[in-house]
Every structure is written in structure tokens, then in C-alpha cells.
């Protein structure tokens, strides 16, 4: 079935089948909250990604506390290469001034967002020769570099990730400062949740506006410019997903590729039934109870 799945989903990389969860167990990532009473769900891993170097040693790993949250493939490539590889056609906005040119662009995907998939907003500050901006250790009266990013409700914006600072020693004032110079990439991960980009109902809007504010103060070794605030705005499109006809076994990926998983689902269920015949009835019964509880909650809520 994996060959059909790979073909219909246009997956160029190799898919392996861990049918008895051997590697999953060996790696220690078996989802052990799911048991044989959960029928065909049994044996799944906590989903995650490892990126290794040439020796097979892990250089980065990506796991989240919910399976809905996933990193853009571009981030895996960045982790493997150890640098950020920006796309030429990324959505972009620019601002700033002669001392500090500021641009912001979306990294990951094709400038689009969908529920739970993490993209990055990259805020690139290009400083003129001899200029620096401040990290969090600033001299009295000076302004450290801060960024704030906001979007519509349902767009979750994580804390900005700053690169490491350089130490600037000012002998005349006997001071050590943490600064950036040259090209500084500040990365802000973000993703939409169901309020903005549900995959179970049609979208309310087809794009989202993101506003970026960068506050900074540019200085040379001898003099400083007044603090400034640069404001940038850009939009990202929301991925249109084919809703509403949704079955639990048919995620939007399957539908997009017209991959019919039902025959494979039947085989999977039969295989699990042979191992533990009570699994399916117990799972069905659990589902009836969960559905009833959900109906009750929706009645109470409405």
C-alpha cells in the first residue's frame, strides 16, 4: 500500500513500514497510552523527526506535545545544512532606514499556512558597515532590539529566536556590550489553530495579515542614532482544504491525493483482530461513549 500512497501523494523519499512497531519500540517512542483495546490504533509512535549528520548522529530533533503540530520541511533541511535557506519567491515586506535595512519574509511552505504546521517569519536586519544594534545587555539609556509580531485571532506566534550576540568592548568607557552587526536573522515561529484555519470546516478568510514591529537603536563605536521603530506588514494565504466530507480515516492529505485507504484499513483491522479479537468491539464501544459525551457537551454549550 505504501507504493500507492507514495505515488498518489507525490512522495519522493523512501517510506518504510514498521508493521510490528519494532523500530518504534527500539527508539522508545511507542505511544503506550494506546493499547490493544484501541484496535487499529495500537502500535503508533509519538510522531517526530530526527535529523542526522553524515555519521548518523542526531543534530536536531523535532517532537511536540500534540501530533497536530508539525514543522515545515524547510526547517528540517535547514537543520541538516546548519543554515537558513530562504526561498527566492517568499512573501516579503521591507522597512528600516539607511543604517539598518529590515525585511521580513515567510519561510516554509509556499507562503501559505495550514492548521498546526509551523512556519517561520524571518526578520532580517542588514546593518550598514560599522553599525551595531543591541542585544539585551545595553548601556544605560540605550534601547535593546525587540520584535513583536501579531496576527489575527487563531494565529499562534511563538517567542522570537535571536542569533548569538557578539561582545563589543568599549575600552574608553570600560564597558562590555552584547551587540549584533552585519546580517541578523531573527526567527519567529508561528502556526494557525482551528479558529483561523480549521481542517474540518470551510475557511472564513483566505489570507491572514501579519504585523511586525522592530524596535532598535543603531550605533557605531563612537555615536548613536535615536531609537527607532520599524513597522512591516505582510499577508499569508491559508491553504484551502477540501471540507466538509470528512471521515476519521480520511485526512485531507489522503483526499488531496485521491488515495483510497479503505482496503488497507480493512486489512489492518483484520490483522489486529486476529491478534486480539476483543480489540475492535472494545474500541467501537469506547467510541460510542466518547461520541455521546461529545454530543452532550455540544448540547450543553449551545
Amino acid at each position: 500500500m505504501l507504493s500507492e500512497f507514495a505515488e498518489k501523494q507525490n512522495i519522493p523519499y523512501r517510506l518504510l513500514s514498521d508493521i510490528d512497531s519494532e523500530a518504534i519500540r527500539d527508539y522508545g517512542i511507542l505511544n503506550d497510552e494506546i493499547g490493544r483495546e484501541d484496535a487499529f490504533l495500537e502500535g503508533i509512535p509519538y510522531p517526530g523527526v530526527y535529523v542526522t549528520d553524515e555519521e548518523g548522529v542526531v543534530v536536531a530533533k523535532f517532537f511536540h506535545d500534540t501530533y497536530k503540530l508539525r514543522d515545515s520541511p524547510e526547517m528540517l533541511i535547514d537543520a541538516a545544512l546548519g543554515r537558513l535557506v530562504a526561498s527566492d519567491d517568499a512573501r516579503q515586506a521591507s522597512g528600516g532606514d539607511e543604517e539598518v535595512r529590515i525585511s521580513a519574509f515567510i519561510h516554509g511552505g509556499k507562503g501559505t499556512i495550514r492548521q498546526g504546521i509551523i512556519r517561520q517569519l524571518v526578520i532580517r536586519c542588514e546593518l550598514a558597515e560599522g553599525m551595531h544594534i543591541y542585544g539585551d545587555r545595553v548601556p544605560e539609556g540605550m534601547v535593546p532590539t525587540t520584535v513583536s509580531v501579531s496576527g489575527p485571532p487563531g494565529l499562534i506566534v511563538e517567542a522570537p529566536i535571536f542569533p548569538a550576540t557578539e561582545t563589543l568592548r568599549l575600552e574608553s568607557m570600560n564597558m562590555e556590550l552584547s551587540v549584533w552587526s552585519g546580517v541578523v536573522d531573527i526567527v519567529v515561529p508561528f502556526y494557525p489553530v482551528g479558529l483561523l484555519a480549521s481542517e474540518t470546516r470551510p475557511l472564513d478568510m483566505d489570507s491572514a495579515g501579519i504585523e511586525v514591529e522592530v524596535r532598535y537603536q543603531a550605533c557605531s563605536d563612537s555615536s548613536c542614532f535615536p531609537p527607532k521603530t520599524a513597522k512591516l506588514a505582510l499577508t499569508v494565504d491559508l491553504d484551502v482544504i477540501d471540507v466538509p466530507r470528512l471521515g476519521v480515516h480520511l485526512g485531507h492529505g489522503q483526499r488531496a491525493g485521491k488515495f483510497n485507504s479503505m482496503p488497507h484499513m480493512r486489512r489492518l483491522i483484520l490483522r489486529k483482530l486476529r491478534k486480539y479479537p476483543l480489540g475492535l468491539p472494545r474500541f467501537v464501544w469506547k467510541n460510542i461513549r466518547l461520541e455521546a459525551a461529545a454530543k452532550w457537551r455540544s448540547l450543553m454549550g449551545s
Binding site: I24, I29, Y46, H64, T66, L246, E291
Partner: protein
């Protein structure tokens, strides 16, 4: 099928508490750590050929993705 929003804000076509929606519990190990060599494994590919992970990798860097299922 009831659609409910979980405490992370995500919608899914299954009621809350459904085992398919269980997340990674707090403090749960996530397998080999940064700096460790990934354990080897041998698993069949889409054509049924057994693939030895490190051997197939050769001297290349690799990305190993564990996902839940291609069926559902």
C-alpha cells in the same frame, strides 16, 4: 462524527478523549537525544525490500520521520 476543538486550539474529526488524539505526555522521552547516534533498524520499503538504515544512508546526512499511519 463530532468535531471538537482541543485545549491546544486544534480541530479534529473525532471527539475529545479519542485515543487517536492523544498527545505526547509531559516529560515523556522522545528517543535518542541530540549527539547520540541513531539506532540501526531494518524495515521493508514500499516494494517489500528490506532496508538497513545506516547501510542505505551511506555517508549521507539523513532525516528520519516517524509518522503515525498512511492508512488513517
Amino acid at each position: 462524527m463530532t468535531v471538537e476543538r482541543d485545549h491546544h486550539g486544534f480541530d479534529a474529526p473525532a471527539p475529545l478523549g479519542h485515543p487517536g488524539r492523544i498527545g505526547l505526555p509531559d516529560g515523556h522521552p522522545t528517543g535518542p537525544e541530540v549527539g547520540e547516534r541513531l539506532p540501526d533498524f531494518s524495515l521493508p520499503d514500499a516494494q517489500g525490500r528490506v532496508v538497513d538504515y545506516h547501510e542505505s544512508r551511506g555517508q549521507a546526512k539523513s532525516v528520519v520521520v516517524f509518522f503515525r499511519s498512511a492508512v488513517w
